[in-house]
């Protein structure tokens, strides 16, 4: 029971967090907390098989599937706060409180008495006993499950499959397209300039510098540009100015003392 009283508040708080967090990834992580705690509760309820299955199937497989889909859909696809039906949220919370009160009061009024306990049922071992029931009394349901799983797998494949509408471009056709672009629009034939060659900075979010001193738009990924995480050229210029100032200051300071001071400052540039 100690595990229960430690985990129950954690689970309730994590589940409540599921209602309030804005980002779907945070919701998935909170759900993981609830599921792991549930697994421990299963272990406390003499259900070691459910404990393992909860961790492997729920936390391991289903939750990872959620995270995969979140990554495909876009991690920052956060919830909108706009109510489409007026008063729906308030009504939903009132209805939820009513349901919760009824359920908790109803359960609280039951006098279940002491639990029989699974000592006798688990005598041959929990997994053996479960297998015994599963393959005798519930064998039909078990076989139906296989049909369900196959249907689900085929359904997911049908839903996720995308028919190719145009033939896949080959290397030859891509090269021909490139030359055609050069002939018609004058697009550069060679590869795009590489990013991160802007004086002191060596990162993909730094645009390459053209010979005339301007930043090359083509050298940075379009994704970074869309997210607005590209270092802007003026900001980099500030850096350079600051550096020049420090070099200049060092030069003026070191003019009468030591000569190597200025070279030492210039090497990182």
């Amino acid at each position: 029971m100690i595990a229960f009283w430690i985990l129950a508040p954690v689970m309730v708080i994590a589940a409540l967090g599921l209602l309030f967090v804005r980002k779907a990834v945070h919701a998935a992580l909170l759900l993981a907390v609830v599921m792991m705690s549930l697994a421990v509760l299963y272990a406390a309820l003499d259900a070691p098989f459910l404990f393992a299955v909860q961790i492997i199937v729920y936390t391991g497989a289903i939750l990872m599937l959620f995270l995969f889909v979140l990554m495909l859909v876009g991690v920052d696809a956060s919830d909108s706060v706009v109510e489409t039906i007026r008063g729906q949220r308030v009504l939903a919370i009132v209805a939820g409180l009513l349901l919760g009160t009824v359920l908790v009061l109803g359960v609280g009024q039951l006098s279940l008495g002491g639990a029989v306990g699974l000592g006798r049922a688990n005598a041959p071992g929990n997994i053996e006993a479960l297998a015994d029931i599963l393959f005798s009394r519930y064998v039909f349901a078990f076989e139906t499950t296989s049909a369900l799983l196959i249907t689900a797998a085929v359904g997911a494949m049908v839903l996720a499959h995308r028919e190719r509408l145009v033939p896949k471009p080959t290397q030859q056709s891509l090269a021909a397209q490139r030359v055609r672009d050069y002939a018609e629009k004058g697009t550069h034939l060679g590869p795009l300039p590489t990013p991160g060659v802007f004086a002191r900075h060596n990162a993909v979010d730094t645009p390459a510098l053209l010979p005339d001193g301007t930043a090359s738009e083509a050298s940075i990924s379009r994704v970074l540009a869309a997210r607005g995480t590209v270092r802007s050229a003026p900001a980099l210029a500030e850096d350079i100015e600051q550096m020049q100032r420090s070099i200049g200051g060092a030069r003026q300071a070191g003019r009468d003392s030591a000569v190597p001071a200025s070279t030492e400052e210039e090497t990182p540039a």
Partner: protein, 99 residues
Amino acid sequence: MSITPYIVLSAILFTIGCVGVLTRRNAIVVFMCVELMLNASNLALAAFSKQHGNLDGQVAAFFVMVVAAAEVVVGLAIIMTIFRTRRSASVDDASLLKY
């Protein structure tokens, strides 16, 4: 040992899942709340299994897990398809059948 606290916790989790399904707009989060409700029912099943001293409840919880796995696979595939056509995972945007 009484199992009443387990059942109460299960009821609370189920209620939270219910409210989540009603209030959240993101289809994936709605799905997570459905999973929360299924998990809550599983906890009740495991607790009742202990109360009655036989394993039928645990087998039922096992079947719930299998069905939940199948449901998640198909549901997420549907969400993916909707996202692909309308660039949105909100439950409000899939309203074409209304008109």
